[in-house]
């Protein structure tokens, strides 16, 4: 029976990590689909959100006020970076845009470092405990951490709302039109700047939610904490099919599942109850899949990214339009 609980727990883990990846990947995908810009500073928005939340909580503000401040602050930063850095280079070659986003990331990281110092807070900064998000839920013999359940539910709710926005509203329709063909959308009288600003605003808001949940899980913040999440979000977006919101969501959950598998499978020989598989198989598993292998997880994930880029550049859900390869 233990094995069943173990599998269920891992499944919840996968869905909750997947939700976070999906929340982040969606922001990347929206911006990419319209501007063909891989916005690496998206990861730093997650970091900025976490810091906003930490400063508000350390200032003894109530949780609701904290969340509102965090959302408003992060969306403002997201809009600002679009206006100041990305608008002037619209239409520049892909790589110039990518490099600009690195520079924007550097500004946000170093800016956060400055502010932390100015407020005389330590670096790394311990994230204040949020009562509502700490502790575990217990269902019978299954225990799941509360933040995982919240991530899972919040992720699904927000992503459903986003899908409704994109399919049912005028602005959502304009956004899809702009993603399809930017000049044509402009000729049809769509206010491109408004659409792009909306994409950045929504992306930043979702990143802020992911940032808060990340911060709760990580327990401490550094100005550089956004780098790995944005890489993961990018992988999620690529696996799902870059440039489509649906693809980003599918990719996010696929990556969540993959990571949990890569963490759970090494060392499986030690967990399996005796008698479930033949002893020779168990010995084989212990020898070839030792638990130490799980520290190579990120390397495996990137190998998979490279394989997807090579063999299925349009991802799982990608459109059949071929990217310029070669």
């Amino acid at each position: 029976m233990n094995l069943v609980f173990y599998v269920i727990q891992q499944f919840v883990n996968a869905l909750s990590i997947g939700s976070l990846y999906a929340l982040m990947a969606v922001g990347l995908a929206m911006v990419f689909s319209i501007l063909r810009l891989i916005n690496f500073a998206h990861g730093d928005l997650i970091m900025v959100a976490a810091y906003f939340a930490a400063f508000a909580l350390l200032g003894k503000l109530p949780l609701v006020v904290t969340i509102v401040l965090m959302l408003a602050g992060t969306v403002l930063v997201g809009l600002l970076m679009e206006r100041v850095a990305y608008r002037p280079i619209r239409g520049a070659p892909d790589v110039s845009a990518l490099l600009t986003s690195f520079a924007v990331g550097q500004i946000l990281q170093n800016g956060t470092l400055l502010v932390t110092r100015f407020l005389q807070k330590p670096n790394p900064l311990a994230f204040p405990v949020i009562g509502a998000l700490s502790g575990v839920f217990t269902f019978g013999s299954i225990t799941v951490s509360r933040v995982n359940v919240v991530s899972l539910l919040l992720g699904i709710i927000l992503l459903v709302l986003l899908s409704l926005f994109v399919t049912r509203t005028n602005l959502g329709l304009s956004m899809r039109a702009a993603a399809e063909d930017l000049p044509a959308a402009q000729l049809m009288g769509i206010d491109i700047n408004r659409v792009i600003a909306t994409a950045f605003a929504i992306g930043s808001g979702l990143a802020a939610v992911a940032g808060l949940l990340f911060a709760v899980q990580a327990g401490q913040l550094t100005p550089y904490m956004g780098f790995t999440p944005v890489l993961k979000a990018f992988i999620a977006a690529v696996i799902g099919g870059f440039g489509s919101i649906g693809g980003a969501i599918v990719g996010g959950y696929a990556l969540g599942g993959l990571e949990v598998l890569l963490t759970a499978i090494p060392g499986i020989g030690d967990i399996l109850p005796p008698g479930l598989v033949a002893p020779s198989v168990q010995a084989w598993l212990k020898h070839w899949l030792p638990s130490s292998l799980s520290s190579y997880r990120d390397a495996f994930v990137f190998v998979i990214l490279i394989l997807v880029l090579l063999f299925r550049p349009n991802g799982i859900l990608g459109r059949r339009e071929r990217e310029e390869m070669g």
Binding site: I38, A85, P88, I89, A92, D94, V95, S96, L98, L99, T100, F102, A103, V104, Q106, I107, Q109, N110, G111, T112, L113, L114, R117, P223, F227, L231, F234, V238, S295, Y296, D298, A299, F302, V303, L305, I306, L309, L310, P313, E323, E324, M325, G326
Partner: protein, 351 residues
């Protein structure tokens, strides 16, 4: 067609010879004066110059933007440092090396010349080139931002491997006790060689193929220029010199850990490349000198004012301004032509 007479050759060699003599005099004076701070800065400058030139060869010449080069640097640094570590230190710090590596110690000298360091650097750089060949065969087929992200993936993979290969690299612990072989002469000797090689490649038919497929892939292909082979050549040669820079760095700083070789360093080198101009050898020199100098000045201002992070912000803003207002960098693809410097009526020295 220019007529390549003996006299012409002599005159065109004058510029580089004078430049190298000037460099030797400056380094000699610096050595004699014994100013440790300035010597360190000039060594650093040389290492960055090699990194920027190699990155220019791959990213600038071919337009295939790699973000993974610092991974090659890390492999070069660890590879050569493991090779040069004297036997006693090796047993003490890396007790679990495989037998064939545990016995190798390239710490021998020829007279006072550290021949072992040269050989270890070469071995490490050649091995890294082979890695680059394998990686390149797979990744050079991609282009645009896809190759950028795939190569960034390579950087992450190298980092994970370095952190986990405890027996070879001591994992996350500092790799220390590397013999400080690197000095002004080693660094600038390699830097001059790198400048020469990259310059020659730019002038060669391979170099023209690199630029041709960068400007217009389809046009280049239609006149029979292969896309993959010039990209691969650039990638492998540039990995070689990047690994050399890693070895020089390792034997200069003498203790390091995998955290050094990551995105911050990558971004620094890219800034120098973009400021100078992708595709210009002289641009790389100008960009490296400017950014290393500016970073040093800012760092010195940062320390007393305690505004840590300010220098990073200023450099990043500068970078964005260059991309907005001068996308091709200060020099673009143009060169400051040393070989025209001493010719009468040679026209402008900027070509």
């Amino acid at each position: 067609m220019r007529l390549e007479t003996r006299e012409w050759r002599l005159k065109s060699a004058m510029g580089p010879i004078v430049a190298i003599l000037g460099l030797v005099i400056v380094l000699g004076l610096l050595q004699a004066a014994g100013l440790a701070f300035w010597q360190g800065l000039v060594v650093n400058l040389g290492i960055f110059l090699i990194l920027v030139l190699s990155l220019n060869l791959s990213n600038g010449f071919t337009g295939v933007f790699s973000l993974g080069h610092i991974g090659f640097m890390a492999l070069g640094a660890y590879g050569s440092a493991i090779l040069t570590l004297p036997l006693r230190e090796k047993q003490e710090y890396l007790p679990n090396l495989p037998a064939w590596l545990a016995g190798a110690h390239f710490d021998f000298r020829l007279g006072s010349f550290p021949l072992g360091f040269l050989i270890a650097t070469m071995i490490a750089a050649i091995l890294v080139s082979l890695v680059a060949l394998l990686v390149g065969l797979v990744l050079m087929r991609l282009s645009g931002h896809f190759v950028a992200v795939a190569t960034l993936g390579f950087l992450v993979i190298v980092r994970v491997l370095l952190f986990n290969a405890d027996n070879l690299t001591r994992g996350s612990r500092t790799f220390s006790n590397v013999t400080p072989y690197t000095n002004l002469w080693w660094v600038w000797g390699w830097a001059v060689l790198t400048i020469y090689m990259v310059w020659r490649i730019k002038q060669s038919s391979y170099g023209r193929a690199m630029f041709a497929q960068r400007e217009d892939r389809w046009a280049a292909q239609s006149i029979g220029i292969d896309v993959l082979s010039p990209r691969l050549l650039a990638f492998v040669v540039s990995a070689f010199f990047t690994a050399v820079a890693g070895s020089l760095y390792a034997h200069f700083i003498t203790s390091f850990s995998p955290t050094v070789f990551y995105f911050d360093l990558t971004f620094k080198v890219i800034t120098m490349l973009v400021v100078g101009g992708m595709g210009s050898v002289s641009g790389s020199i100008v960009g490296t000198v400017l950014v290393v100098g500016l970073a040093e000045v800012l760092r010195r201002l940062e320390d007393p004012s305690q505004l840590y992070g300010m220098s990073g912000i200023i450099l990043a803003v500068l970078f964005i301004l260059i991309i907005i207002f001068r996308r091709d960098g200060l020099l673009g693809q143009r060169e400051i032509a040393l070989d025209r410097l001493f010719m009468k009526g040679g026209g402008s020295a900027v070509e």
